[in-house]
Point group: C2
């Protein structure tokens, strides 16, 4: 059987259509604030993509920079966005300067506008299965599972990675009693011994570990499904840098049943999830008024 | 090698000593409110044990009953305890009447006094690895791991159960980067197929599923360590009811390296953890004043 490529593009397209519909039906003017704290971050590419996609979908993306890293200044800075009724989403660009505690920042963002799920209140809701904004990349993974109708109930899903933004929300959501949950889940990470012992058992393998081409074909089960959220920059043979996943795509391609490409997989869904959150938040705010 | 019995008693004893020390050193008069909502709950035994242990350890345990199950009445009821500076801990007895949403109640309890970790803010802190009150039975399991110096890093720990109060906090904490974390964790539950496939792999098996004697010796690995948080009432041969765990203790005893008894294991640590939380909370409140 031919391997199926789980492209992120049609998934993103469907989310964008829903976002557009929500904007039009409710005549919304959503604004997302992207905060940059301290020095410029390394992820300009991601910010550019948010601005461009925002423009296409009708979300005004505003970049706001705080030169100060003092706690008081940051609290005031974020407080202004929280109380600005035009703003319906706030995200803080990572990585943050080392002197700034990410949880301190997370707690400052009002849960209503916490579109990337970093406030402990949002996190608590996620963990308890209550309504909340799920961190965008984690939700992108679930959207791929939904779109391609990947069955999770009773399946053995191995998640490699335990970060607050991807691995942790994903493995928790896969255990919830939902249509994308009820899986038997194994979580692996940097302290796991004999990683292949676990990855080889996976009906569905999800990687979010940031280690280029870590997973080789000897480490996977025949006919498994692979969702690769890793985006690792490596130098290619011509001296130009290219992006690859945590899975060695070419090596694993023939052995698996289906696989997300990198780029063009999980990453290409994330921004559309983010903008969808901003619009959902705006819709809620409008109703409350 | 002889099987080691992981009794909860010395673990509880150590926690009680720490609690006592904290009370004496700070001259505290801690008060725990145990709320009973609507009809009387089935768990009088547990409440009795809290009152008795509280009296011994210097924690005043007060039972407060709300006959009403209306949201407004409950909110006012809990609000009074939140604002009462004598009260440093609030728990709500379960099971709740069906008409009352446990998350609604959880959100009402001030995080500072949320000694059984049910408020989403508390839960978010736990999940992010921040300071908080961990649900008492989950913490009791970790206390047993600490006390008996059970190594978790790089070990394969299989958790059977995914409840908000035991399974879920336990599997998350085992994945944190702490001395009781860094394990490779597999989570099983009612939708898991071929449960024994997973339990057989466990270096450490933790059960919290509420199914009497579910785990038999064929389902475990030679020399594994078993921590059994199940407490199931069954009728014994004389017609009297007895309590057994999720693990068939007699059946598994010789094959495993160590095992917690039921009763006398995890359950016997839980109340001392709860009272310790009440005193920790009181100490914090005193410092803030």
């Amino acid at each position: 059987m031919e391997t199926k490529i789980l492209s992120g593009k049609p998934v993103a397209k469907r989310i964008k259509a829903l976002t557009k519909e929500m904007i039009n039906q409710n005549d919304l003017k959503p604004v997302l604030v992207v905060m940059i704290v301290g020095h410029d971050s390394a992820s300009e590419y991601y910010i550019d993509s948010i601005i461009k996609q925002g423009a296409k979908q009708g979300v005004d993306v505003q970049i706001r920079k705080s030169d100060s890293v003092s706690s008081d200044d940051l609290a005031e800075f974020i407080h202004n966005f929280n109380s600005d009724s035009n703003v319906s989403g706030i995200i803080v660009q990572k990585p943050l300067p080392k002197s700034v505690d990410e949880h301190f920042i997370g707690k400052l963002i009002s849960p209503e506008k916490d579109v990337d799920g970093v406030n402990p209140i949002t996190v608590g809701h996620l963990y308890l299965g209550l309504d909340c904004f799920i961190p965008c990349t984690a939700e992108a993974i679930l959207e791929i599972i939904k779109f391609y109708d990947i069955k999770t109930e009773g399946k053995h899903i191995v998640v490699v990675g335990r970060s607050n933004v991807i691995g942790k929300p994903v493995y928790n959501l896969l255990l919830h009693k939902t249509s994308t949950g009820n899986a038997t889940v194994t979580v692996c990470h940097s302290k796991t011994k004999e990683l292949e012992k676990y990855t080889k058992q996976a009906d569905v393998l999800i990687t979010a570990v940031g280690s280029a081409k870590l997973i080789k074909k000897e480490m996977i089960k025949e006919n498994c499904i692979i969702i690769d959220a890793g985006i690792n920059k490596i130098g290619d043979i011509d001296g130009k840098s290219v992006f690859v996943g945590d899975v060695d795509y070419d090596d694993c391609f023939e052995k698996c049943q289906a696989i997300t490409p990198v780029p063009g997989g999980v990453g290409s869904v994330t921004t559309s999830v983010l903008l969808n959150h901003v619009v959902r938040s705006k819709k809620k705010m409008q109703k409350i008024k």
